[in-house]
Subunit: 312 residues, 3 copies
């Protein structure tokens, strides 16, 4: 069974690790929806420490903890309501907060922040997104979504569309997928391509990938299309955003050019790059996707707090 | 017994619906004060999603949930700390959050926001105030306050004073009262009168009402005086506020002109329109009023989550 | 056994009161770390009402409550997300919130705010810091830290270094220490000295103290050195900060001038006045200190809510 001290990224997780996590998550499905009561983490306290705005990641972590009978303390806006405002750095903050809690989920605008937190923390750190680096719990919930929607991950043709340079979610998803037998198509505007370090790992792990600007052609042959938002807040020059937005928009007509039902995913929020006419397309999975985040985060909390039942 | 899928306003509730809600609230009084333990909503998760600042409504919802043994996840400042900041609209936010929770209490600056949320949500929506439209849980707690303070709602002379145009609380209260045999007196500065659609409903339901600018005369004959704040944040022109503030101030001397004890209510916060010399007036109910909010919200959560005990 | 209605400061607590609080805290040590389950405050609701930013005080109160099985409602940023924004004053806010909760921990930028809250509240008030006046739970956790690190408080030589004028934590610590047989050395830049009212109490209670600017000499003979941050946010003139910062910096070389191991404390966050080379000094207690805050706050909640077990 997978053993983890922290979860800072998917870079170093094995296929077996990922399969274990998804398996534990599936065991917790009815607990996460509230249908079944299972107070696995009773009296445990999770801290959500968010230096960047978030709805879904923070709430989803907190619900996962509550569904397992645990407690939550939260800093939803660490930049203005915490001691960061007084000039405190991450190591000092972590060495304080680990006195209060059994695990810390941290989001930060700097790449490497979660790794740094882990190196100072006496309790497990869960990376809830660090700069343009990784967002591993999102990557895992995306893998779970693919598994639930398609029955398998192996053998699929997966298209990633959008700002693949700044989107930490697709970094983690790509790293996760690199443990499976998939074919990747990477569609992004010039200057927004997947980072070289990610491509290097794909090569090393013999994952076939294509880079193209032909969205229509890519969609036609896909099993899964994953759309991502231009990460406006990461761009130094706002004009860059205006040039690029609207370049690739997934809509119903593109999807209906394909002969089969395609699974459509998005990390959300969307801002124009995924047309609302897709919402009632049979393969649209993006409003089911967030629930898988509760399952995956519940599984990770159980793993990191050493409470996975033997029966799982 | 009342059955509700959502609570977006009091406009469409019947007298029987309201009486059921107040009755259930009264059953939960000792639970809401913490005197009695009754974990009716164990393992249920409520989300408080607030796009506008709030102390009493949010905290009161959260305490109601806690007193019933439930859990809470919260976005206290959705405008800046959530994905709204990234440009997400209400339908997308709701279709995400309903994956995490069993009910959502939403406050928003746009009239109709709760109705829109309800039309997209897979879980019950509770309107915690939408623009200048309705604030139904406030309206219900005001009805409960009148019932507790006076023993009855029927037969009372009720005066509403202040900014009746922009105050959603008095909209909901007036709609609620329109199911009972009451006489209403509406006192407001010119330009701040009760909206026509509310008056139309009063007419349709044969509720006698008077509009006047004579506060002293109105108070003299009242059973209940409900004072409301000028909703400064709803005014386009700040000078409009300066012209109007201080126009109608309820104070001890006005109250002592009456021959009986008048019940004095205010939705709070107050900013000058209710003098502090009223605080120890025997009929001053406005610091007891907030507790009735816990009772009413606990009742609504029990109703919307289908957990009202048969014995109630 | 100590009995308290509110905790607004350490000014009026006796030695016996303080010893009782520390003793109860020590009984709760394993509960506060999560090793032992003890739902002493089940179904109780604590409100954390913070008008100034905080990480450690708020989270530590909330964890204390959770470890004892209680519930929490929170206003982390009362200045912008609550009714204060609409112009509500403390008495009105308190007379509202006390309807929702069993106790209120309040932080405010005005000295005397907690005392004012206590005079209006129907539930216990815990001062979580009021202006430049007191921060009694910090003072108590500092006393507990000294007791745990040194085995005793009596007989110690204690040096306080830094902005002793604006630091409410050292006010409370000094008041607490004034009940024990200690020798105090107060080291601060000119204009940042301990307030006269504190010195008056030291004199009245016959506590010997020295004021000096010789940090090196003071450290040499100390048992405990308590470093505090210049409270930049309390200074009217920002240039004053630049003149003073860096004046007194505690570092490893100063500590190694002493013949014994000194206990080093800091209320945190630090901003330069305590060098990182002290972090692995054997006497560095400042990253253990925050846990003592959970213990002390748990003890205070048990006391104020009348739930201290007879066996303690």
């Amino acid at each position: 069974m997978v053993e983890l001290k922290h979860l800072t990224g998917l870079r170093d997780l094995s296929r077996k690790d990922i399969e274990d996590i998804l398996n534990i998550a599936l065991h917790l499905e009815e607990v996460c929806s509230g249908k079944k009561v299972f107070n696995l983490l009773e009296n445990k306290v999770l801290t959500t420490l968010f230096y960047e705005p978030s709805t879904r990641t923070r709430l989803s972590f907190e619900t996962a903890m509550h569904r397992l009978g645990g407690k939550v303390i939260s800093v939803a806006d660490a930049k203005t309501t915490s001691s960061a405002w007084k000039g405190e750095n991450i190591p000092d903050t972590i060495r304080t907060i680990d006195n209060y809690t059994d695990a810390i989920a941290i989001r930060h605008s700097e790449s490497g922040a979660a790794e740094m937190a882990a190196s100072y923390s006496r309790v497990p750190i869960l990376n809830a997104g660090d700069g343009t680096n990784e967002h591993p719990t999102q990557g895992l919930l995306d893998l779970l979504t693919i598994k639930k929607e398609r029955g398998t991950i192996d053998g699929l043709k997966i298209v990633l569309v959008g700002d693949l340079k700044h989107t930490r979610s697709t970094n983690s998803l790509t790293l996760g997928l690199s443990n499976f037998n998939v074919e990747l198509t990477l569609v992004s505007p010039p200057g927004f391509e997947t980072s070289q370090w990610i491509l290097d790992i794909l090569k090393k792990r013999n994952i076939p990938y294509t880079r193209t600007d032909d969205l229509r052609g890519s969609v036609k042959n896909a099993d899964v299309v994953y759309v991502c938002r231009i990460q406006k807040e990461r761009l130094a020059d706002p004009h860059e955003y205006d040039k690029i937005k609207g370049t690739y928009v997934l809509n119903r007509s593109l999807l209906e050019g394909a002969s089969r039902i395609i699974t459509v995913m998005h990390h959300l929020p969307r801002v124009g790059e995924l047309d609302e006419d897709v919402d009632d397309y049979p393969g649209a999975a993006y409003f089911r996707q967030p629930f898988n985040g509760v399952m995956v985060r519940a599984a990770l909390l159980a793993i990191l707090l050493n409470r996975v039942p033997e029966s799982f």
